[in-house]
């Protein structure tokens, strides 16, 4: 029986399994979306949770400060969230850009000038992956406050994120740069290009897929991180994850609003996933499968 199914892809049982898996992995996300579109009356009511009239009121409450119109349902506009959203976007983009630039340069030099073996780099990258953010909490707090004077600033948090992501980014970019044929660069050198020109005009365009993977991973970490942001940032520079945790109290949680906030935080990663799932999987599997 089993022999027949091998190599014969059209078995309804497998499609049923796939659908079940889809429902399981999407279920909680869909639940978040629907809750964010519900009024509190609908969230609390005992009636079936599928029948409700969707409303954008929660999103209006969250984004009241940046909307171009005055939402009718919002009595008091709390600007915390829209400010945090701006901070999050700025911090994540800055961290990603700086990590990519520094990572690219370092990876290129490591490959072309044969500095350290690939083994050393992947070992370092693994070691860095081992360091939990919680371990960085104490020293980063101490140094940033007392030595660098960077507590509460964007520069401070961006420095942590760049440092946290660099080992992984260097390592993944290296595996792409190794594949760039040397002849291409030699030809450019013949034509009189200097190392910088070779790097920016010849190498960079070829490794774009690697750059995309590295960018997504860095952005995701800077965008989602909570612990260090919570310790380092102050009221004005706070990011979205910190505001979400701050608005969670033991008993009285405004589920509609908080789910809308969560949705806004989840949207960029979701978009990346659908646009670049191939690159993400490459980045994820690169560590284990290729070694």
């Amino acid at each position: 029986m089993t022999k027949k199914t091998v190599g014969r892809p059209k078995n309804p049982a497998f499609y049923a399994l796939m659908v079940a898996l889809l429902v399981m992995s999407l279920g909680p996300i869909i639940m978040m979306v629907t809750t964010s579109l519900k009024l509190n009356v609908d969230i609390m009511s005992d009636a079936s949770s599928l029948w409700f009239s969707p409303t954008l009121e929660n999103y209006e409450t969250v984004l009241c400060d940046v909307l171009w119109y005055e939402p009718v349902n919002v009595d008091y506009c709390n600007p915390t969230f829209s400010r945090a959203l701006g901070n999050s976007i700025f911090i994540a983009l800055m961290s990603t850009a700086i990590t990519l630039i520094l990572g690219c340069m370092a990876a290129y030099a490591l490959v072309r000038f044969k500095f350290m073996g690939r083994g050393t780099i992947s070992m370092t990258s693994l070691m860095m992956r081992m360091v939990p953010p919680a371990v960085l909490l104490v020293p980063v707090f101490g140094i940033w406050t007392f030595n660098y004077g960077l507590d509460g600033t964007f520069a401070g948090i961006v420095l942590v994120y760049v440092a946290m992501n660099l080992p992984f980014v260097i390592w993944i970019l290296q595996s792409f740069i190794v594949q760039v044929p040397m002849q291409l660069e030699e030809a450019a050198k013949m034509d009189g290009a200097n190392p910088l020109q070779i790097f920016f005009l010849v190498v960079l365009p070829v490794i774009t897929p690697g750059l995309a993977a590295a960018a997504i991973f860095t952005f995701r970490i800077a965008w989602n991180e909570f612990l260090l942001a919570n310790a380092l940032l102050n009221r004005d520079t706070r990011t979205v994850p910190v505001t979400i945790v701050n608005s969670l109290t033991e008993y009285d949680i405004d589920w509609g609003v908080i789910m809308a906030t969560g949705m806004l935080l989840a949207i960029p990663p979701i978009i990346f996933t659908f646009v670049a799932s191939k690159q993400i999987i490459t980045g994820m599997t690169a560590g284990a499968v290729k070694g």
Binding site: M18, L102, V160, L227, I281
Partner: protein, 306 residues
């Protein structure tokens, strides 16, 4: 002359910025933490004002019931999630390793839980576990069962956070296993099939042994990450009820921010690092041992065959 010395400096010029950032943002903090773990230090003091207490922070931790409890919770959590996720992920990969339409869509959807912020994942699960409006208790109630105290009972709370972690990370193992399966040598599998091995035999005697190196690296990566989980649990239970879900990462952050004992928190961080280092090293050694073993048996085959 000038250009050649410039060329010699080029690699340093390329590496220097990254090296500088790593030194300032990672190496210095970590060595600082090693140092701070020997101090009695609270956040309002400069590090120079803190008293040197030697190994006191390390030894008092072992007498601290809360620390031992959170170490135990961490181990229970990490090993159970990794074990369950490995079994689920591997069996799903073995089952679904065939050319089916919709496979890439499934993989895309599967990445979502890992991409979304852990804070948001915690939020979703806290909502679903809600005692009265959560979907689990509503479903149970509508079938006439009693509500389950998902997050308010200490046994259930640990199970609940394990379930949430399994939801979030099984796809990671599934994707890695699937990639490994698809890079197995087709000829070996074909030969096994020709010899009449059934699906079970193929899986247990051919596929899993061949995947072993990947499986071990996957296990290691996942185990490391399981020790780092913090935000999901923070949002769902904040370590409670009691200490039942207070994993070490959470304990570190609470010791630093609530109890304001940075020295103790640093000592705890060191313990966690040592634990992770031991795990990593043992996996590495095991992997090397396997490789050598395999190389030997390959050599043996090479000698006997004509």
């Amino acid at each position: 002359m000038k250009s050649s010395s410039l060329n010699k400096l080029t690699p340093y010029f390329f590496i220097a910025p990254a090296g500088l950032v790593l030194a300032l943002g990672l190496l210095y903090p970590i060595s600082y933490m090693m140092y701070a773990s020997f101090l009695d230090w609270n956040p309002s003091q400069l590090i120079g004002e803190a008293d040197w207490v030697g190994l006191k922070n390390y030894s008092t931790l072992w007498q601290d019931y809360a620390f031992r409890e959170s170490l135990w919770v961490t181990l229970k959590f990490a090993f159970s999630v990794v074990l369950i996720e490995m079994i689920l992920g591997l069996s799903l990969a073995l089952l679904l390793d065939r050319n089916m339409r919709g496979m890439s869509a499934l993989r895309t959807i599967f990445i979502l839980p890992m991409m979304i912020a852990p804070i948001v994942v915690g939020l979703m699960w806290r909502y679903m576990y809600h005692p009265s409006i959560g979907v689990f208790n509503r479903t149970l109630n509508s079938f006439g069962f009693e509500s389950i105290p998902w997050l308010s009972d200490s046994t259930w709370a640990l199970i609940s956070i394990i379930i949430a972690d399994i939801w979030q990370w099984t796809p990671f193992i599934f994707i890695l296993c699937l990639a490994a399966l698809q890079s197995l040598p087709r000829s070996t599998l074909e030969a096994a099939r020709m010899d009449g091995a059934n699906a079970w035999q193929q899986a247990f005697y051919i596929k899993i042994p061949l995947m072993m190196p990947v499986l071990i690296v996957t296990l290691l990566l996942r185990l490391i990450d399981a020790f780092k989980v913090l935000e999901v649990i923070l949002v769902m239970t904040n370590g409670g009820p009691g200490l039942s879900t207070e994993i070490i990462a959470l304990r570190i952050s609470r010791t630093a921010s609530e109890f304001r004992e940075l020295g103790v928190a640093a000592a705890m961080s060191n313990y966690l690092l040592i634990l992770l280092l031991l795990l990593t090293l043992s996996m590495f050694l095991y992997n090397r041992f396997i490789e050598q073993h395999r190389a030997k048996s390959f050599n043996a085959i090479g000698k006997t065959s004509p």
